[in-house]
Symmetry: D2
Subunit: 148 residues, 4 copies
């Protein structure tokens, strides 16, 4: 692991720890690389919609964070990212043992970054892709409270 | 309130009560009318991202449900709706006392329904629009576990 | 008409005249107000897809321009707008005599502007909504070639 | 080339030839494989927006068709596809000699198909990715005029 990746990892870990919603829904940070972040979620009733699947908004929550943190790994220190918008296609019901959202940067710009996340549902040894998210991230700097 | 609206309300209330995620995040159903549903969320640390705002995915969770249930109010009995995809613009940080997501049907079709939701943040007597979601809902019928 | 609206109109008209694609597809500027612009398109075979409807991309072309120019009417002089992304729902086949795209600003920001456009198809005295677009516009300044 | 691919190619070629808009904008079909279609566009003033770049809606036109035809290659005969919605991120100004839109199916379903298209701008021997589109396609059958 290079020094840069170690710094990015420490930065994402510290920020993730401040996302109290992640503890609420039962998500945790799985991996951090340059331009790529993975977040896992145990599938439990506390994140269910009415049919017993994980709610689309919760799928979006881990996908958006995976995409956003992937973007953050490529930002100079002192800059944070906010999601300006995202779009998510729910391709299959999100059920099984757990979800993994794999975020990666598609294009990193000074102002806007495009990132995607794919979400997989894992049940025993089977893996299915359940969602695909594309996000537009905006870099913010020197704005109170918005760093990393 | 007409008989139809009373039936739609009972249907949405029963379905909402099965969305255990709503209790997890602290959301509740505020109102149900034909083609229009409102969901409220108290802003507490349990739904926060790293800067103290409500996480975009949680904003999306109540917006998606408000849009989806607006769609459900117009569906014949025995049919459920699933979100095929949604897109959300986050226009301002979601902070304040509470959020209200107001969903409404834009176009109801036999197979696909388009619905939108606007999310407002309320702080004291100030109200700001913080997000706008557009969803494509797909009607499902006779599929095990997917009713209402 | 106020002086401001007159200036915005002149600005949008001059820019529209430089959009040679509009002549190619047969579109023209119908109206300009503060935060709202309308563009019309005659439905002819030159914009058809394989089933004889107007191609979704051409519907998007007039909708994106109506939304973008709506955003431009609220920008200080010397600033242009570029579309960072848009999403469009095609709600019904685009057929009839002509289309009208009605763009309006949802939220105007220093950096990002959110605008929407609704597209209607007109056939004789019947009008149907055929598409709904939401766009994120980014303000650009001092960039060569990108003014208005 | 397998018999199946030959049939898909003939089918897409025949449909593309009926898309008169493609001749209007100067686009042509470059390649057809199972689940993947490429469309090219010469960059000429007739597709320009006000800054001299290819209009976002025209970029969307070839991207949507590349994605839609990628979906069509996987459909049983007698079924057509319509775009229910798409979202496109414009990552860089579309300028240069020509554009190539590369569509591919992400998930093919009985009712809904998710497809993506990446658009590249080619100038001399340089290639840049300028746009990324995600579309939801709906399969239609036995509807007058909508086949392939």
């Amino acid at each position: 692991m290079s020094a840069d990746v170690a710094i990015a990892r420490a930065r994402v870990e510290a920020s993730f720890a401040r996302q109290t919603v992640m503890e609420t829904i039962g998500a945790r940070l799985l991996s951090v690389a340059a331009g790529a972040v993975e977040i896992g979620l145990e599938i439990t009733p506390r994140v269910s919609q009415q049919h017993g699947f994980v709610h689309a908004g919760i799928v979006a929550t881990i996908a958006d964070s995976a995409a956003g943190y992937a973007g953050l790994t490529l930002m100079p220190e002192g800059r944070g990212v906010l999601t300006a918008e995202f779009k998510i296609n729910l391709m299959a019901p999100a059920s099984g043992d757990r979800l993994v959202a794999r975020g990666r940067v598609v294009k990193s710009g000074r102002l806007l970054t495009i990132a995607q996340a794919e979400v997989e549902a894992i049940e025993g040894d089977r893996t299915r892709t359940v969602a695909l998210l594309t996000a537009t991230l905006v870099a913010v700097e020197n704005r109170q409270g918005v760093v990393d």
